[in-house]
Amino acid sequence: MADFLKMVHEVGVGFFGPLLWSLVWVVIKVVLLLAPVLFIVTYITLAERKVIGAMQVRPGPNRVGFFGVLQPLADAVKLIFKETILPIKADKGLFILAPLLTLVPALLSWAVVPFSPELVLANINIGVLYLLAISSLGAYGIIMAGWSSNSRYAFLGAMRSVAQMVSYEVSMGFTLIPVILITGSLNLVDVVEHQKTWWNVIPLAPMFFIYFISVVAETNRTPFDLPEAEPELVAGFFTEYSAMSAGLFLMGEYANIVLVSFLGALVFLGGWLPPVSILGFIPGLVWLGLKAGFLMFVFLWIRATFPRYRYDQLMRLGWKVFLPLSLFWIFLTGLVLQLTQGVRGG
């Protein structure tokens, strides 16, 4: 592998020159990372319809291609060839920018997500912080979409959505702090490697559940999909969007689901570490995929099961239950660490 990389570098430098090659190499790495991510994003839409279909005792899409495997392509073709409608009253610039601003942060976050100790685009020491910072940016796209559409439904939907995302980001961030306390590092590779003895989900089980419920709310999924609450708000913040601009919002939503599933698998479920060391012969990438895949499945499972929350219930849950609980658990983790290990150095 290392020899092959060296060879690629030599050929690249010879062809492009050292300066241009370093840029081209980054682009190649980004493409190699994002192509599978976008593939998963495309096919989670099919998985969603299949899983929910099965839970409702019906087969789901099965007409386009065998078992419906070409359905996402058909959807994409439909979205691309439909007319993108710009409302007359809309603020055109922001209106076009908004879907991009929701999708791009979801993709940017992948830079620090490690797939194995070596396989990570940017192994930076503030990985968790970077993720929290970038994922907060998604709220801007949504509020811009709501504001620039110049429509009541879109505006109300955006208000709800942003309030919800901001609220749940707090508890989501707080659930990650005990993990950081235990690991003593913000580097995601360190966080995973530190789970060799036992996964973080064992000492931090309540935090894992709070994390998961928070990210369901954070990604605006059922039962917290109030922003797009069809009965009241038509489609929430993307009411006025059509064709591929609406498709970009959906892609952003699914990209976020995939991202938080991988993050949950890395931070709480031991990432690429096998559950028992005997199973270590299976490559770490498979374990990570299985764990993240399970979390993605739970997203769909939840959607097929629960009815939508009311807005005040949602806010109460976020601020009055999750926030105190996660704060208490941070305190508890700190206390236990202090008593068992003494003050950490540095």
Partner: protein, 164 residues
């Protein structure tokens, strides 16, 4: 309303959520009940009220005797009948027998009213029109329907005969 500790513990243990998710998971492995429509079809009752048809008798003559009972009973006034002026007391014939399927509410009163089982609502529900006039059926079309679905119509009438 005091602090119900048991309730509180149960809601923190996500008990009811787990129960709900168990139900959906169980259903996930059940066989689907979907009928793949164009290939598979659900059974139809012999009383199914679909597209209209005018029947002929065994000699090939029109059954309709132009009594206009169906026209009179039709609540949507979708039927228009004119008697053939050449009709005699022995042989009454229609000159015009039109049904506007866009007006029809498929109540089946015409079939109930008909003394000679001429106008019937058949088992066919797969008909459409791209313009309104496509759904304005004249006598020719109704008789053609009667020939097209002859066997099905006879079977339906035979199956339902003992209840009439």
């Amino acid at each position: 309303m005091g602090l119900d500790l048991k309730n509180l513990l149960q809601s923190f243990a996500l008990k009811e959520l787990a129960q709900g998710m168990a139900v959906t998971l169980k259903h996930m492995f059940k066989p689907t009940i979907t009928v793949q429509y164009p290939e598979e079809r659900t059974p139809l009752s012999p009383r199914f009220r679909g597209e209209h048809a005018l029947r002929r008798d065994e000699n090939g003559a029109e059954r309709c005797v132009a009594c206009k009972l169906c026209e009179a009973v039709c609540p949507a006034q979708a039927i228009i009948i004119e008697i053939d002026p050449e009709s005699t007391a022995e042989k009454r014939l229609t000159r015009v027998y039109d049904i506007d399927e866009t007006k029809c509410i498929f109540c089946g009163f015409c079939q109930e009213a008909c003394p000679v089982e001429a106008i019937v609502l058949g088992p066919n529900f797969e008909f459409f029109g791209s313009v309104r006039s496509d759904l304005y059926y004249d006598k020719k079309r109704l008789l053609a329907n009667g020939e097209r679905f002859q066997n099905a119509l006879n079977a339906c009438i035979a199956a339902d005969a003992k209840y009439r």
